[in-house]
Amino acid sequence: MKPSHGGSDKLRRDIESYTCGEVPSPLELLRAPVLNYWSANVRRRGKEFVLVITGDVSKHDEYPDGENIATGAVAWFDRHGRFARTTARVFALREPAGDEVPLEGIDI
């Protein structure tokens, strides 16, 4: 057993509600930081593994808009790729990476 995370009560409640099929409310998603051109990556933490999401952030308290960041360990990743819940907060996910058309690929 891992020790529970500090202030994890909210997290536990959120996960429970996601397990019941709920998703964050539109208001919550509106307030949440947004990740654009995101991709999910598996990282190793010692023996254990975590899933993190990298992408261009906006509306985050601690980062300037447009900065490319990696989130903390994801505790719930929406199966339709709409949002991700990390230990600390919910991220709203917009465009996934890889779909953007490279400029040099366009024949003008």
Partner: protein
């Protein structure tokens, strides 16, 4: 393990086995008796308790006889119930052979349960067996197997840890944890399907089964189902939905893991599980994570197979040889451990189109199979071949714990049916080496050493074929009936072909004429069987260590017959409930066996005949 779709008879059988496992988990003989009595009364209509009472004050030996009578009466209707009565008739003071015969039958039955956990029952039965073989003196505490098992089964549970079965506490666990313990996708599907049938309704359940043949349709079906389950808005259904989405994880597409792994890890972190259970689940989950990382992109099997520690099957990129099921069960196939380059590039020439399976061997370090648990293997072999313990010891003489599983060339000599080939096969099974059986009796040329590269359809030597098939550097080659090999030298002969392989000195620099490469066969083992050494050419006789396998004698009959009974029970579940052979039956078998010079093959058919005769006149007692 699970088969799908499950038909009604399988389910009914599983129910019966689960009932037996519940009886075995009773704390005392008395409560187990009550349970068996209830069931007998329901199914066969006679009241066992009343009959036992009618018998008045009886000795405990008489009690066993009466219970065996019950067992015979219900056998035709319900073999499992009959077995339960036999188990109830056993006492710790009974003869080891008697106890083992009944308990081994029950083991076979419990292990065959396709779902539901029989693990605790197996652990308890192991205590029964250990008491019977005198591992610990159970009689010092109690004269009741159930009571003794109650005290000691947790310790046996530890020994069962590596078992493929699921742990016993299935009640309130997250369904995903049960799924993690499954060794195959099919098992996982079966487990989950049975579990969610009620929630999703019969129609949907059938649709899932229908989609089984089409992988793409299956994925769609599961995706819909997951949405449906989440829409139920209950924590249990949500948990089941997560478990279902695990089935859509494909190691070839790591992104399919992304929406599963964080949830799964969180569920495991939040669950309060017993330490060993938790550790096992985490170990498996780490393999899932590695798949999510993209480590197994070239895999050909499901993630469940990877995560199963019993079935090590790490992928070999661009592995062309499909017949590699063996490697998956070889612990040595994992990356760590000693290796040997069988085909160094510097000593190889260009391979031609017939040699495509061998291209990967060039300069490839192939794993050497390492001897593990030699003492246990030795004990298992002694139990299986009680008449040939000396031969077993001689055969294992070269093996050292932690070293390569290689023996110098040996030749087992003995009468037909004394168990020579079986012994070699068993040894190789226990060592987990690959066994390539070569029928020397039908060999009339030098094909063993392969055919020249100049010929069409050229084929490498047998040891190289074994190495390529096993992808290990240390396969075993069994030359069966070597004394019956053709002696003509017209197309070369097996004898001459063999000589180059049998000495380490030449084998480690053997030039394979088909591959035209110098290969290192020093880790290959050669075992042969023969009925007599007189007919063997002397160059072979010199190179093989001769081990004589004696015939069994009448004294070995009880354990050997018990072994045969266990083999029969393993092949045929209806035989699992057979009671051990009685003294008079053993005496008859002994009389019938002697004219066959105590051949093991003969013993098997005699025992089978005895059991069939017993069935045909069922009321023997």
């Amino acid at each position: 393990m699970c088969t799908i779709p499950k038909d009604a008879s399988t389910r009914e059988r599983d129910d019966k086995i689960r009932w037996l496992s519940a009886v075995l988990s009773r704390p005392t003989w008395r409560s187990a008796f009550a349970e068996a009595q209830r069931k007998t009364r329901r199914s066969s209509g006679f009241n066992a308790a009343a009959e036992l009472q009618r018998a008045g004050t009886i000795t405990i030996g008489d009690r066993a006889k009466i219970l065996m009578g019950f067992s015979n009466r219900v056998r035709a209707d319900d073999p499992v119930l009959s077995l339960a009565w036999q188990l109830l008739a056993l006492r710790p003071s009974d003869d080891e052979v008697v106890v083992r015969a009944v308990v081994d039958g029950a083991f076979g039955l419990l292990r065959s349960c396709t779902d539901g956990s029989t693990r605790t029952a197996i652990a308890r039965l192991r205590v029964w067996r250990d008491v019977a073989i005198g591992k610990y003196d159970g009689t010092a505490y109690s004269d009741d197997f159930f009571d003794i098992a109650k005290r000691y089964w947790p310790a046996e549970m530890d020994n069962l840890k590596g078992d493929r079965m699921r742990p016993a506490t299935a009640a309130e666990r997250h369904p995903a944890f049960d799924l993690l313990m499954c060794g195959r996708w099919d098992d996982a599907f079966g487990t989950l399907h049975a579990r969610s049938e009620k929630v999703i309704g019969a129609e949907r359940a059938q649709a899932l089964l229908d989609a089984l043949s089409d992988r793409k349709a299956m994925r769609e079906e599961i995706r819909d189902l997951v949405d449906l389950l989440y829409a139920c808005a209950s924590p249990n259904d949500g948990a089941t939905a997560l478990a279902w989405s695990m089935l859509n994880c494909d190691p070839r597409k790591p992104e399919t893991f992304h929406a599963v792994m964080p949830q799964l890890q969180h569920a495991l972190d939040a669950a309060d599980l017993p330490a060993d259970d938790d550790a096992g689940l985490r170990r498996r989950l780490r393999v899932w994570w590695r798949a999510a990382e993209g480590e197994f992109k070239t895999a050909k099997v499901s993630i469940f197979r990877f995560a199963d520690p019993e079935a090590e099957c790490w992928p070999d990129p661009a592995e062309p040889n499909a017949a590699l099921a063996f490697v998956r069960s070889t612990p040595a196939a994992t990356a760590s451990g000693p290796t040997l380059v069988v085909m160094p590039k510097v000593k190889a020439t260009k391979l031609n189109s017939f040699h495509s399976p061998y291209k990967d061997l060039v300069d490839a370090p192939l794993p050497l199979v390492i001897v593990r648990d030699l003492a246990r293997s030795r004990a298992a072999l002694h139990a299986e071949f009680p008449h040939a313990t000396v031969a077993v010891d001689l055969l294992l003489r070269d093996l050292r714990e932690g070293k390569t599983a290689r023996v110098a060339p040996v030749c087992l000599v003995g009468d037909p049916g004394s168990g020579k080939s079986r012994m070699v096969r068993k040894v190789s099974d226990l060592l987990r080496t690959y066994l390539y059986r070569f029928d020397a009796g039908s060999s009339t040329d030098a094909h063993f050493a392969g055919t020249s590269k100049a010929w069409g359809n050229t084929e490498p030597s047998v040891p190289m074929r074994a190495i390529a098939q096993s992808q290990t550097a240390s396969p075993w080659i069994l030359l069966d009936e070597i004394d019956k090999a053709g002696t003509s030298n017209h197309n070369g002969s097996l004898t001459h072909a063999l000589l180059g392989f049998l000495d380490v000195e030449t084998a480690c620099r053997y030039r394979d004429q088909s591959l035209d490469a110098e290969v290192d066969l020093s880790a290959c083992s050669f075992a042969s069987t023969a009925n007599s050494v007189e007919k063997m050419p002397s160059p072979l006789r010199d190179r093989f260590r001769i081990i004589r396998v004696p015939n069994p004698t009448l004294a070995h009959l009880p354990p050997l017959a018990a072994n045969v009974m266990r083999d029969l029970a393993a092949q045929d579940e209806a035989r699992a409930g057979d009671e051990p052979l009685a003294r008079d039956e053993l005496a008859n078998i002994g009389r019938a066996w002697a004219p066959y010079k105590f051949s093991m093959r003969a013993l098997k058919s005699i025992v089978r005949g005895t059991l069939e005769a017993r069935d045909s006149c069922a009321m023997r007692h």
